[in-house]
């Protein structure tokens, strides 16, 4: 009986959360059916069936998170599976109680030889209980589960060292340390456990001193936790469980801030020509086309300017810098539970209306949680526009491994000196955050100045 595994649905995904099962136990599954919706670090994706047969068992309930490759369901009528299902879970009685009047209850769990009954299971389906079936659970302490989820560790991948194989805090801490060691080239390895201490093991005194470092880090965290606990105790807080998006966003932003040395360049753009141009385009497009937004114009401008300054269209890759031949621009979209960055691919070769159309579609999908892997991957540069939110000016955190991100403020009336005279203009702040490992100030400045000029003469974008 084939198992269905958590698929890999994004390049950075480590685990997926079942946000909704679209099929129930007992449903007949055909190849290509959508079984469930899965929330990854980036989006809500569809879990597609590659198998056929009845859905025998759901292993991960809604809300459950498992790593890539972990079984989430079983499809098929293999003998023994059924027995396991009915007796191993609490649904046996419920199934009978829930049977529709006049319809014979589903025969008890006698292991039927695999005679596929094409119709019976479908008939029986409504009689199935609607609650999800409890999954196989590895023994794990509540604390280890909480720590694991806080640190984005998939507990089911750990081997428990507690009694009866229980996963305990120590196991999770080791897993965190292991994971943190890998990218942590700038930091000394954490030695949370003696066995992880340096093999040189000089004198006991020295090793004790070594152990102090993580311990101090520990203390800071403990201090934080104490604060948190104080607030919790006082009933001053409400606990909001992390969604996958929020968790991954958090982790990646930390990674970015910790590892990419940011610096910032800001310039003010006279937005009047841009706004006028936008108005004109929209009037011309009328009913026929999409409404072009400032963001769309900026994406278009960036795409053009990135062609001019290929150094900026680059990524940091630890041992080298990668310059991208194609220009894929990510647009940061705020969701209730995190930030998501769908990508307009090959923005430099698209027309403004194409970009507009695509960007709007992506934003809608993002809000619906329906972005596909392709729509999320491959960005080489990102634009984040908080102008619509009334923000004058801000700095953005780089979306690694990209080299830069553009933060766009609101276009606002401001005193400007025009032709030696004080006048009221409409100004917009652009701030470029740059990974100093990839770019230097002058290169960034050249790009930003080019962008500014382009935006102030928007006609150049379309000619």
């Amino acid at each position: 009986m084939p198992e269905i595994f958590m698929p890999r649905l994004s390049d950075t995904m480590e685990e997926g959360t079942i946000s909704r099962w679209l099929k129930r136990e007992g449903d007949q599954i055909r190849r290509g059916d959508v079984l469930a919706e899965i929330e990854t670090d980036k989006a809500v994706m569809e879990l597609e069936a590659y198998e056929e047969g009845p859905l025998t068992r759901i292993l991960v309930p809604e809300g459950g998170a498992v790593p890539i490759g972990a079984p989430v369901a079983v499809v098929g009528t293999g003998a023994g599976t059924e027995t396991g299902t009915s007796t191993g879970t609490s649904t046996g009685a419920g199934a009978e109680a829930g049977a529709e009047p006049g319809q014979p209850a589903r025969p008890p769990a006698t292991p039927e030889p695999a005679t596929p009954e094409p119709t019976a299971p479908e008939q029986a389906a409504p009689a199935q209980p609607s609650e999800p079936v409890s999954p196989i659970r590895l023994p794990s302490s509540p604390l280890s589960r909480r720590l694991a989820s806080r640190h984005g560790i998939d507990i089911t991948t750990l081997t428990g060292s507690g009694p009866g194989g229980r996963v305990i805090r120590a196991d999770v801490e080791e897993a965190i340390a292991r994971r943190d060691e890998r990218p942590a080239t700038t930091r000394t390895a954490r030695t949370a456990r003696p066995e992880a201490a340096s093999p040189a093991e000089p004198t006991p005194r020295a090793s004790r001193a070594e152990e102090k470092t993580p311990e101090r880090a520990e203390t800071v965290r403990e201090g934080e936790e104490r604060e948190i606990e104080k607030a919790e105790k006082a009933g001053d807080v409400e606990e909001v469980p992390l969604t996958a998006v929020r968790r991954i966003t958090a982790r990646r932003l930390i990674q970015s801030v910790q590892q990419a040395p940011h610096f910032y360049l800001t310039t003010m753009v006279d937005a009047e020509p841009l706004l006028a141009f936008r108005a004109e385009v929209n009037t011309r497009l009328g009913e026929r086309g999409p409404r072009v937004t400032v963001t769309d114009l900026i994406v278009k401008a960036c795409a053009i300017e990135l062609r001019e300054h290929p150094e900026v269209n680059a990524s940091w890759a630890d041992t080298r810098i990668l310059r991208h031949r194609r220009v894929h621009i990510g647009i940061a979209v705020a969701l209730d539970d995190g930030l998501i960055v769908p990508v307009v691919h090959d923005a430099d070769v698209r027309t403004l209306t194409e970009i507009a159309r695509e960007a709007h579609a992506l934003a809608d999908k993002a809000r619906a949680g329906r972005l596909t892997l392709d729509e999320l991957g491959g960005g080489t540069f990102t634009v984040s526009n908080l102008g619509p939110f009334g923000i004058d000016h801000f700095t953005a955190v780089i979306n690694p491994p990209q080299a830069a991100i553009l933060a766009v403020g609101a276009a606002q009336p401001q005193p400007v000196v025009r032709d030696g005279e004080l006048a009221v203009g409409t100004m917009m702040a652009l701030t470029l955050s740059i990974d100093h490992r990839v770019l230097d100030g002058a290169t960034g400045a050249a790009f930003l100045t080019g962008l500014k000029e382009l935006l102030q003469q928007p006609l150049r974008m379309v000619v």
């Binding site: 191993g88 879970t89 079936v133 409890s134 659970r137 794990s140 009866g164």
Partner: protein, 382 residues
């Protein structure tokens, strides 16, 4: 004899060995009808109790005995007299001051001492200690440590007798011992009332040693003539001199007889005096020196001895020999107790239920649950 009701209608005809009853304080020579051997037997029992209790105090001081330890010192005449009125087929319920009764009822001194020592050979297997002596064979159905605790169960034992058999000379009966202070507890009144309305074969014997711990009877009882407390329930009550073994015996016999033959409850008050503190650890400072001296003068053991010598039943030499014998008996009892093992620790849970009960989630303190796992951690696993 003082009685608040006329004696039993048919005045009991005591057996040949039993004389008339005494008045409080009177010490009269043994009647001609008393069998000399029986009298010497009473003396032997009283001497045994005295020796046993004195050595018990010593053993307590030597930390061989733990917990509470209440002695019958000064009550020997009462103890022996009451027990002399019982047949082997009668049942006895007692308070926590119970060593002497067990001995007089015929318990092996070694087994009594072994219980005090907490040894497996003790009367209650070492589990009850001084206050909780029990011997089903002797129909000693327990010493009870909770004041008044014995009264309702004793009453129920009498109910069982009445339930199973008619009154008559061969009927069994119950004697329930209690202290003077115990007459103030609710259970006393409830038990007496039940015995009266159900007409049960039971004699409640108040051992009035004039103190309940440090409280004199007059301070604790609205009616200090305790035998009168039966009035409310129309239970005939009598008071006798508890220092006179024969008087106690005879009064008890009479009441036991009406209990047997008429299934009529009785209330007997035997007045003696507690020679020492409430328990071995009580220095009894609340008693004045004069009082203590007066008490010693009333000591029933030398008095009975003198009386027997005076009456020619006992000579000095025999008396000394008996005293020696009892000393040796008690020494042997101590040796027996001391060489007996304590109950093995792995029998801790034995005997708690009559039926096999998986009583214990854990064995010893902090033990994990029986399956060796601290908790069930796997859910939904088939």
């Amino acid at each position: 004899m003082v009685a608040n009701t006329p004696g039993p209608a048919s005045s009991p005809e005591p057996g040949p060995a039993h004389g008339a009853r005494s008045d409080v304080g009177a010490v009269r020579p043994p009647g001609a009808s008393e069998d000399a051997e029986v009298l010497r037997g009473y003396y032997r029992q009283m001497a045994l109790i005295r020796a046993f209790e004195l050595r018990s105090a010593e053993m307590y001081a030597r930390a061989k005995i733990g917990g509470y330890c209440h002695l019958n010192l000064g009550e020997e005449a009462t103890v022996v007299g009451l027990m002399a009125a019982l047949r082997p087929s009668d049942y006895l319920f007692a308070g926590y001051r119970v060593h002497g009764y067990a001995l007089a009822r015929g318990a092996e001194p070694g087994r009594v001492m072994a219980e005090l020592f907490g040894r497996v050979t003790g009367m209650s297997g070492g589990r009850g200690g001084s206050m909780h002596l029990f011997d089903a064979g002797l129909r000693l159905l327990g010493g009870y440590g909770i004041v008044g605790g014995q009264l309702p169960p004793a009453t129920g034992a009498a109910l069982a007798i009445a339930y199973r058999g008619a009154p008559g000379p061969d009927s069994e009966a119950v004697m329930c011992l209690l202290g003077d202070g115990t007459t103030n507890i609710g259970a006393f009144h409830e038990a007496l009332n039940l015995a009266a309305v159900w007409r049960l074969p039971i004699v409640y014997a108040i051992v009035n040693n004039q103190l309940g711990m440090g409280t004199p009877v007059e301070a604790a009882s609205g009616e200090p003539e305790l035998f009168r407390r039966g009035c409310s329930y129309r239970i005939p009550g009598e008071r006798v001199d508890g220092n006179d073994v024969l008087a106690v015996r005879d009064a008890a016999l009479a009441l036991m007889e009406s209990a047997r033959e008429e299934h009529r409850p009785g209330l007997l008050e035997a007045v003696s005096y507690r020679i020492r503190g409430h328990s071995v650890v009580d220095p009894a400072r609340y008693r004045s020196a004069e009082e203590t001296q007066r008490v010693r003068d009333l000591d029933p053991l030398p008095a009975f001895r003198a009386r027997l010598i005076e009456g020619g039943v006992l000579d000095q030499e025999t008396a000394a020999r008996i005293d020696d014998e009892t000393e040796r008996t008690v020494t042997a009892a101590i040796e027996f107790a001391d060489t007996s093992p304590p109950p093995p620790v792995d029998t801790l849970f034995d005997g708690v239920y009559a039926t096999p009960v998986p009583n214990v989630f854990t064995g010893l303190p902090g033990d994990p649950p029986p399956d060796g796992q601290t908790t069930v951690t796997t859910l939904g696993e088939s």
